[in-house]
Structures are given as structure tokens and as C-alpha cells.
């Protein structure tokens, strides 16, 4: 029996209606009884269209949103029951890479500052000296295929693919076990996307990471993930092994999504 890394148990999230000058807007059911579990060391894909609740679920896992009901457990620890200090310690083990590498790096911070910031924040857990942090920063950059000559440059000097590598280095800084990847390649060109996907595969093999991969690009999910869940309007429609879902989708929604996927093949 493999260890469960992340367990989402019957989670619902309702955003209450807002009262404005034109009346009250209805409440939004962003997540409805979502349950799924991610095993240690696997890549789990979450696929859905815009507005389906992917981001709400991701934010809930980081405990940036509190679910209305249900519980989220990371390695058995229930996020809703942890104190601030315990949450901070937990967050060093759960990190995220965002979609847009142009927006998620502070233009005023050098690569060194960006990559070592998590080390400073998680000082209590990691306990590194300044010297060790510098070494760690260089190590992280080489891990993502960049060099220590890049340490003292600023984000604007890098291409989109390199920036996404910096984002990955920052996410890996505190030595996480679970990495949330929120559409990490959708802002990149296909050739660069291929490089980043290969890097992610390589890092997973080397560091034994668990990926929670959010995407609307089915081809990328099929390539990278072991298991996949499809989410539509806040509900999980289908989940299972990647190969099984792509070859024999059970639900109408999955068939529709897979049918709409633009494949590069000679038209019939």
C-alpha cells in the first residue's frame, strides 16, 4: 500500500453572494463534494475548463482559501486543524509553480534573492546559515539547468522558459515533497514547453517529488501524469489512470474534451 501524499475529502467551497447597488448576486458553488487522493511519488493531473474550480481547489490545498466543508490532509495532517506555526512548517513541504513566469517573479529582486527567499522564510524549519544559503542557491540553479553566473541577474534578462526554470528553482528551494504546478507551460512556446516538461520529469525521477498538475492541455497531461481527474463546474466528473481515461473515457464530458483535443495528425 503506497503512502497517500494529499487527500481531499468531500470538499465544498461556497462563495457567498455579494450585496451591491444593483441587488445581491447569487452565491457561487465553486467546489461541490470534491474527493480525491494523490499517492506519494506520482503525478496527478487535474483537468478542467476555465471556471471549473481548478484554481479554487489549488488555493485550498495551499490553505489560501478555507473550504466551506470537508477536509484536506497533507500526509495525514488536516490543514483546517493546524496552528499558524504548524501551517508555516507544512508549507515548506508544499510549494507551487504558477502559470505566468512573467507575472510571478518580482522584477526588483535578483535571481539570488528570489531563490533564497523561501530559505529565509522557512529559516526555522531549515536552519541554514547565509553561507549555506548561497551554496543552496547555486545548487538549485544547476538543478534546473542554469548556472551560477545567472545568480545576480534580474528577471527581465531571461526568456520565458528560463523564467519558468527560476520559478521551479524557487519552488524547490525549501525541499518540498509536493509540488503544485498550475499550468506551468501554457504561457510558453511548444519548443520551450518540451524542455520544461522534460525538466519536470527529470526532477521527479531524481528527487522523488509528487506532482499535482493543473492544466487544460490534455496532451501535456497525457504525457506527464500517471492519474488524472476531470473537473467540471466544481464537480469531479471522472478520475482514474491516465491511459484508461484517454483510451476509454466513461463520462460524456470526458469524451467531449478528448474529442475536442487538437491532435497533430494528417487530416482524414
Amino acid at each position: 500500500m503506497t503512502e497517500i501524499m494529499l487527500e481531499i475529502d468531500n470538499v465544498s467551497k461556497i462563495y457567498p453572494g455579494r450585496r451591491g447597488i444593483f441587488g445581491t448576486s447569487p452565491e457561487v458553488h465553486a467546489l461541490k463534494n470534491v474527493s480525491l487522493s494523490v499517492r506519494k511519488g506520482e503525478s496527478f493531473g487535474l483537468v478542467g475548463e476555465s471556471g471549473s474550480g481548478k484554481t479554487t481547489l489549488t488555493r485550498s490545498i495551499l490553505h489560501l482559501e478555507t473550504p466551506t466543508s470537508g477536509s484536506i490532509r497533507v500526509q495525514g495532517q488536516d490543514l483546517g486543524k493546524l496552528s499558524e506555526a504548524e501551517l508555516r512548517r507544512l508549507r515548506s513541504r508544499v510549494q507551487i509553480v504558477f502559470q505566468d513566469p512573467y507575472a510571478s517573479l518580482n522584477p526588483r529582486m535578483s535571481v539570488y534573492d528570489i531563490v533564497t527567499e523561501p530559505l529565509v522564510i522557512h529559516h526555522e524549519t531549515l536552519g541554514l546559515t547565509n553561507r549555506q544559503r548561497s551554496d543552496r542557491a547555486a545548487e538549485l540553479l544547476s538543478l534546473v539547468g542554469m548556472g551560477s553566473q545567472h545568480l545576480h541577474r534580474y528577471p527581465h534578462e531571461f526568456s520565458g522558459g528560463q523564467r519558468q526554470r527560476i520559478c521551479i528553482a524557487r519552488a524547490l528551494a525549501s525541499g518540498p515533497e509536493l509540488l503544485l504546478l498550475d499550468e506551468p507551460t501554457s504561457a510558453l512556446d511548444v519548443s520551450v514547453q518540451a524542455q520544461v516538461l522534460n525538466l519536470l520529469c527529470e526532477l521527479q525521477d531524481r528527487l522523488g517529488l509528487t506532482y499535482f498538475f493543473i492544466s487544460h492541455d490534455l496532451a501535456v497531461v497525457r504525457y506527464l501524469c500517471d492519474r488524472v481527474a476531470l473537473i467540471n463546474r466544481g464537480e469531479i466528473v471522472e478520475q482514474g489512470d491516465c491511459a484508461q481515461i484517454f483510451d476509454a473515457p466513461k463520462s460524456e464530458y470526458a469524451r467531449m474534451l478528448i474529442g475536442a483535443m487538437p491532435e497533430v495528425k494528417v487530416p482524414a
Partner: protein, 345 residues
Amino acid sequence: MTAPLLSIRDLHLRMSSFDGRAHVLNGINLTVNRGEIWGLVGESGCGKSLTGLSVSRLQPTPPAHYTAGEILLEGQDLLKLSPSQMQRLRGKRIGMIFQDPTTNLNPAFRIGEQLVDVALAAADRDPEVIGCAPNAGRRECRQAARKLAGEMLTRVGIPNALARLDDYPHQFSGGMRQRVLIAMALIGRPDLLIADEPTTALDVSVQAQILELIKNSVKDFDMGVVLITHNLGVVAQTCSHVAVMYAGNIVESGPVAAVIGNPVHPYTRALMSAIPTRETRRGELRGLAGSVPNLITPPPGCRFAPRCQFAQPACTTAMPAPVSVGDNHAAACIRVNEMEALVDD
């Protein structure tokens, strides 16, 4: 023999910047006939959008500067037209759809008004568009244009179209807004439609519907389409022909079945192997090393040579001319004929 709908001949475009002049389009040749959907694909910064913007002359000069070439719309050189002559062609003969449907609709006006405006502008030139007599009064024209706007919205698949004419853009979803923009581009019955990444901001299911809609419109209106995209999957699904661009050049062009079924240019091959398919196994995806060259000081000879795994010394001496490799299928590479043997190794 009649002139082709659109014929771009040896188009060169320089762009002035603080660092110097960039050679962003470097001899583009492209011919589009009625009934054809041409896909223009390539990485960001390779000149796809500039080619599209050049055809509709929406690229301000300066900073842009056309140093050579011509863009012929049924024999008429668009680069020689005055701004007001050009303005009369837009909306009527050349329709455009842009990437982001949110920023291309005016949030302060109802959808119906925006469609009617375009229809009336087109009717100035050709009253038949809205189907009323040349001497009809303004009120009559407006009513006819509104009726047409309703018909167009129904045609692009907006339910309850007549009632929705009085809605504002924010009352539509992203996919619906893109449909409104397509209706707006088609309302003047253009001969040529330029669609610049029309589905990049949309979900796959909506994307499939929009592409289907463009395909059907080509049949209904007998027009030619230039579809700019970075997604080869979209090209395979929609287009009849494809031109692959790299750093301001068309490196390979031809019918979709030929180019995707048998890509001969190393760049096309690299692009295709960078996309994960059903058969690609984990860790075996092949990326393309390096990045698009600096166009202020482009590499000598073939611009793809520095990233090309088959490059030879001869590649850096002169820009390769397109070599025909089949029916209407050409690639600009000096090693085209050796390619099959090279790939097998």
C-alpha cells in the same frame, strides 16, 4: 487567368528600435486563393502576426518600414493605397479577428450597435451587404443592418440572437464574445479573413466550435482565410494549407496533409516532435535547444542554422531558396533531398 485573392510577394519589413533596425520579415511569399484556409505557424516572435497586420495595414509606419515587396489583393497593391483607401477595404474586403475577445469589443456600447456600425460602414461601399436600395433613407438602412446583425449572430451560434443585440459585451462569456467578433468580421462579407490566434484564449471545447465555425464560413462566403496560430494541432484540424515561419521567413509551406504527413524542413520536424502525442513516452519529448535569434543582427545564411542539428558550413553562406518537394509543397533548406536519409540515421 484571374489574379489570386491574396498574393504576398517578397515582402521585407524592418522595424526601428532603440537598439537598431530589426529585419523582422525577410522575403515573405504567400498566395491565398478563395476557399483556402492557410495556417501560419511558428514560435513567438517569428513574424506571424506582423504578416497578418501587414495585409490589413494595421502596423504603424514608422516604426515599421516596408523596404521591398508587394501585397496584392486581387491584383491591387495594398502597400500603395492611401490610409483612407485602405480604411474602405477594412471590414468590407478584409475582415480581422484578434486573439483577445475581451479587449476588442467596446464595453460602453451594446453588441447590436457595434455590429450595425460595421455593417453600415461596409454598406457605404456596397449597399447590397445590408440588402437595401442605394437611395434608401438612414432609418431604413439602420433597420436593415440591425436585421442583418441578428442573422449574423444566429449564424455564429448565439442563441436568442435578436434579444441579445441589446446586451453589453460583459454579459457574454469569452467564447460568445469571440463569436460576436467573428460575426462582426463576417458582416461586411469580406473576401479575405485574417484570424490572429482566434482561439488561444479559449477552452478546447469552445476552440473546436469556433474553428468549425470558421471552416463553415469559408464554404458559405467563398472567402480565403489566413489563420495565425502557434498550435500545429489547430492547423491539422482546420486548415487546408500551412506555412511554417521562423525568424521572418517562411521555411516550409504546402497542403496540410503533405507538410504534416511528411515534414521536410528541420524546423518543422523539430516543432512537431516537441508536441507530446499518444505515443510519446515519458521523458522522451524532444525540445528544441536555443532560442529565436536576435533579428537586429541575424545569423548569416539560413536563420535556423545555429539551432539546426543538420547544419553544414554551406548553411551559413546564403539564405536558402525554397525547394519544391512535391505538389505545391516547398521547403527552404539546402539539404531537403538528403533529409530522409539523415533522419533515418
